[in-house]
């Protein structure tokens, strides 16, 4: 081979290696915007982008439901975002224990309710700040279809029986719509009943993994649910159909088709209902009924902001987000409920949120969503953990399995899942 040929060959070799190395190594990271990973999508994501428009140079990443997998992978790879907004305090505590998070300090105008703030501390240090809340103890219905909403659990069962019998006879809509295809809908049912039944400390003990999942509070709560869910004609199309109904479809069943009278879920129901409602009559709400009328515990959900280690800009953004004024664009657009008690109730544009915000301030006992606090795989996602267990339970009781047997199976599964999640770490 000639010298020229050798040269060309060498050039080829060098360029091939250079290309690969350049592709693999990438270029060094320059100054970049502050990255925020969020679970929101659609309208919520749009609103949040409007919120952070007030902070210099922020990039919002909609990650979807699998935010844990995303963050873990990015962490292992050393490319974590600066800030993440997570709906699961359990996850935040886990991350903090692994040393992935920086401590954060709230803005001066920040005050979260007692039941929420302490969920984000590890060894007395604060690792996250609540920036959005969800009121999870609401039933929705049209006043024209249900004039007298039930105020206690027994009244709810009674109403469901009456409407169910009428529905079976083909003379009216089914009493309840439930999006059982989404496991979180069923866990929200369970948590509301459990909060009503369990002693104040009992609920918290279950969430911390210190209590027995086969004990009386869990059994009684499941018993109650079995009593209601097993009513013949309770759901449009029956239990099997309900298991294939997603949350948003269950709202449509009430708001559009009027094939069911009531639907239970959080304050974000109104967004779906507004899109699909027929006519001008608005949906109204009543509180999730418990055994007593007064001073019932309130179940809430929420989203908290955390900063990953080594990002000063991230810590700064989290502090900024906790300010009472930060979420003003979203407050004004509606559909946002603040966990910050400093936010004046009058700042809310929509009357529903104003009422819920007032309830937040008035309520004595606040219970944070239990399933979001459970560790590891117990916390649930599609086909996994407590979501799956509650769906199995729903399937059993709507399929004619005796309540006692269904409860026995469910508590067994819960205890097993708690043990597996406990030993896995």
């Amino acid at each position: 081979m000639t010298a020229a040929g050798r040269l060309r060959r060498r050039t080829l070799l060098r360029s091939a290696v250079a290309t690969t190395v350049a592709g693999a190594a990438g270029c060094a990271r320059g100054p970049r915007p502050v990255q925020v990973a969020v679970v929101w999508s659609g309208a919520e994501l749009t609103r949040f982008r409007e919120v952070v428009a007030g902070f210099p140079d922020v990039r919002v990443i909609g990650v979807g439901n699998d935010i844990d997998a995303f963050l873990t992978a990015r962490m292992l790879a050393g490319t974590s975002p600066d800030v993440a907004i997570l709906p699961r305090p359990g996850l935040i505590v886990e991350y903090a224990r692994r040393g992935w998070l920086d401590r954060v300090a709230p803005a001066s105008s920040y005050l979260a309710p007692a039941g929420m703030a302490d969920l984000l501390t590890v060894d007395g240090h604060r690792y996250g700040l609540w920036i959005k809340a969800a009121h999870k103890s609401l039933f929705w219905h049209f006043p024209s279809m249900l004039a007298e909403p039930p105020r206690t659990w027994d009244a709810l069962v009674e109403t469901t029986r009456r409407l169910g019998a009428r529905h079976r006879a083909g003379e009216g809509p089914a009493p309840l719509a439930v999006g059982a295809a989404d496991g979180w809908v069923l866990t929200d049912w369970f948590e509301n009943v459990l909060a009503d039944i369990a002693r104040p400390g009992g609920y918290e003990a279950l969430a911390r993994g210190e209590a027995d999942w086969q004990g009386p509070p869990v059994r009684d709560a499941l018993d109650r649910l079995a009593e209601l869910w097993s009513i013949d004609g309770a759901f449009p199309g029956g239990g099997q159909r309900a298991l294939l109904t997603q949350f948003e479809e269950s709202v449509i069943q009430v708001a559009h088709h009027r094939s069911a009278v009531m639907v239970f879920e959080a304050d974000f129901v109104d967004g779906v209902a507004a899109r699909f409602r027929r006519g001008t009559e608005p949906l109204v709400t009543f509180r999730f009924p418990g055994s007593r009328v007064a001073d019932q515990p309130l179940v809430v959900g929420g989203d908290a902001a955390v900063a990953f280690t080594g990002s000063a800009a991230g810590v700064e953004l989290v502090r900024w987000l906790s300010d009472a004024a930060a979420f003003r664009p979203w407050l004004e657009a509606g559909g946002y409920l603040s966990p910050n008690l400093v936010v004046p109730v009058n700042n809310y544009r929509d009357p529903l949120r104003r009422r819920l915000a007032a309830e937040f301030r008035a309520v004595e006992a606040l219970r944070y969503d239990l399933s979001d606090r459970l560790p590891g795989t117990f916390t649930g996602t599609d086909g996994v953990g407590i979501w799956r267990i509650m769906q199995d339970f729903f399937m059993d009781v709507t399929d004619g399995v005796a309540a006692r047997e269904a409860v026995r199976r469910a508590t067994g599964q819960l205890a097993e899942a708690a043990r597996a999640a406990g030993s896995g770490r």
């Binding site: 081979m1 290696v17 290309t19 990443i61 990015r74 292992l76 050393g78 029956g238 298991l243 294939l244």
Partner: protein, 585 residues
């Protein structure tokens, strides 16, 4: 999961004979230089992650625990069922696809309407599996107001309250399988048609002349000389392809029945996400071993079959199939069109109507298209995916061409070893090695970035591309190589000249790689980041609120399908010719 290695198996399972080797060895130094890019990518993003996964399956925090993870993984509730279902998928579905594919290829041969039948059957093959999932979920919607199949069942059984739901826990696997068969039969038809066209007509005539019946023709002139191999190839292809059920299950199943449909791919993803944990790694290793062993068995089986005769043009005088057979083929084509019709009809309803009423009850409109095109999300996704697919295709072609050239001159056991290694690399399911791949990407600061996503796609695409191109190069007649060597004095020019002789193989690889990346869900799901939202991921995200979003989802699905279908249909002759050319001789 592995992307479909498609027709190339024909080529790669078939070692090229010694006489055509040893013509022009590149010098050793050049060989290594040419192989380096491919070796680096495959070593770093496939081989090393596989080793890491194996290591993770027998250790906890670096401590040796033996088979503990395996025991735990296999005894955890639902694991046995998932393994069983994976095996069922790998045996039952390929059988159905192979039989249907052969029958439809035979039935649509040499008839006037045959091309139309085959054209219709091939379209679903090119669709992203996410779109297939959306289509069948619409078809099987449990609400008789929206799902035509449920409406039909309610009408047949007469009891709307007791209708068996196809997406319900008992039938969901059947439902997902039907979607898969719908999507893959077209591919089988393509391969069988190519094989049937290479059956020498004189052999058929000879069997006939000696008084052979139709059965004798089938057995002596088709099955024994050629079809046995083809059947094995199609079966193996589809069996490996069943690991793609991941996409379908994720899109088609509501959360409450996901466990009833779960297979290993899904379970590994559910239990470990984008990281590698002990139990997830153990399941992954089991799966990896099973897939590789299965491919080995099939490849041995194929090698023992008869050597096929050289391809020849089919005389036009051969009689078309019987009328009844042709009618059946036409009926199949109509049935294959129905799901596409449901998708198109749903996309033509306004978002609110699509969520609340039957698509057959309202006049069509463009509201859903307007809604989906009005936002920036789909545009950004389309643009990003186009760029990604083009870049990945270009890089895969370059790297694979460089590597295929020296590999084509290998002979004997080394050639076989390389073939087997590439084959194994081509079937590695990406869920299994997602965690370690992320670690490697992290070293290069490209995890969760568009660059990282592209790197993973490239690494996954290379084995298949190298296999096809290697076989194509090895098949080149000696005088062409000599001409190339004499005409151009440098290796680079020789290479360029050789590529020109193999335009079909290059086009085939390019088309398949492009469609592959465009249609991907799982790589996007596992590796996409802030600046990278590929189309499959974008659509799959929207299935979370399936009913409320079905209008815009259907419209987005239609828009996402146009380009891959166009590319695949236009390139289908090249695909078959390019891939089979290297293989049948």
């Amino acid at each position: 999961m592995r992307r479909d290695p498609v027709l190339g198996q024909l080529a790669l399972l078939d070692d090229v004979g010694p006489p055509r080797r040893g013509r022009a060895y590149p010098a050793t130094g050049a060989t290594w230089a040419l192989l380096a890019p491919a070796a680096l990518l495959l070593g770093g993003l496939l081989a090393w992650p596989v080793l890491r996964t194996v290591q993770a399956s027998v250790t906890t925090d670096g401590r040796w625990v033996g088979a503990e993870h395996y025991r735990a993984a296999l005894t955890s509730p639902g694991a046995g069922a998932a393994v069983g279902r994976t095996v069922l998928w790998a045996l039952l579905v390929p059988t159905v696809v192979t039989v249907l594919g052969y029958l439809l290829a035979a039935a649509s041969r040499r008839s006037q309407e045959g091309w139309l039948v085959r054209f219709i059957l091939v379209v679903p093959t090119a669709l992203p599996l996410v779109v297939t999932g959306v289509t069948f979920r619409l078809l099987y919607d449990p609400d008789p107001q929206r799902g035509p199949v449920t409406l039909l069942l309610a009408w047949l059984t007469g009891t709307p309250e007791r209708v068996p739901h196809l997406l319900g826990p008992r039938l969901v696997t059947v439902a997902v399988m039907s979607a898969f068969v719908w999507a893959w039969v077209g591919l089988a038809v393509l391969v069988f048609r190519a094989a049937l066209d290479t059956v020498p007509a004189d052999l058929v005539d000879a069997v006939r002349a000696f008084g052979g019946s139709r059965r004798d023709v089938f057995w002596d002139a088709q099955w024994r000389p050629l079809m046995l191999r083809t059947v094995a190839v199609v079966f193996a292809l589809v069996a490996v392809g069943t690991s793609r059920t991941f996409d379908l299950i994720l899109v088609m199943t509501p959360g409450s029945v996901r466990d009833e449909a779960s297979v290993l791919a899904l379970r590994i993803w559910q239990t470990s996400g984008a990281t590698t944990t002990g139990q997830g790694a153990a399941l992954g290793v089991i799966w990896l071993v099973a897939v590789t062993a299965g491919m080995l068995v099939v490849s041995m089986f194929i090698r023992q079959a008869w050597p096929p005769p050289p391809p020849r043009a089919v005389p036009a005088s051969a009689p078309p199939p019987r009328r009844l057979v042709r009618l059946l083929a036409a009926a199949a084509a109509v049935a294959w069109l129905l799901p596409l019709g449901v998708l198109a009809a749903t996309s033509s309803q306004s978002p609110v109507r699509a969520a609340t009423a039957a698509w057959w009850s309202g006049p069509p409109g463009l509201d859903s298209y307007r809604a989906v095109l009005g936002g920036t999300g789909l545009w950004r996704s389309l643009g990003f995916t186009l760029l990604l697919a083009l870049v990945v295709t270009a890089v895969v072609l370059c790297v694979a061409l460089l590597a295929a050239y020296p590999l084509a001159w290998l002979t004997g056991p080394p050639a076989q070893a390389v073939g087997l290694a590439l084959l194994a690399a081509a079937v590695v399911p990406v869920q299994v090695v997602a965690g370690p791949i992320n670690e490697v990407l992290g070293l290069a600061l490209s995890s969760g970035t568009a660059r990282g996503l592209a790197l993973v796609h490239i690494a996954l695409g290379i084995p298949f591309a190298v296999l096809v191109l290697r076989n194509a190069f090895a098949d080149l007649p000696a005088d062409q190589v000599r001409a190339a060597r004499l005409g151009e004095r440098h290796l680079w020019d020789t290479l360029r000249r050789l590529v020109r002789h193999h335009r079909t193989a290059v086009v085939a690889v390019a088309v398949l790689e492009f469609v592959q990346v465009w249609n991907d869900l799982v790589v996007g799901l596992l590796f996409s980041g802030p600046d990278a939202a590929p189309l499959g991921w974008f659509l799959a995200e929207q299935t979370r609120g399936f009913v409320t979003g079905s209008g815009t989802l259907a419209a987005g699905s239609v828009l996402a399908s146009i380009l891959p279908v166009l590319v695949f249909v236009l390139g289908r002759r090249q695909i078959v010719a390019g891939l089979v050319a290297g293989g049948v001789r």
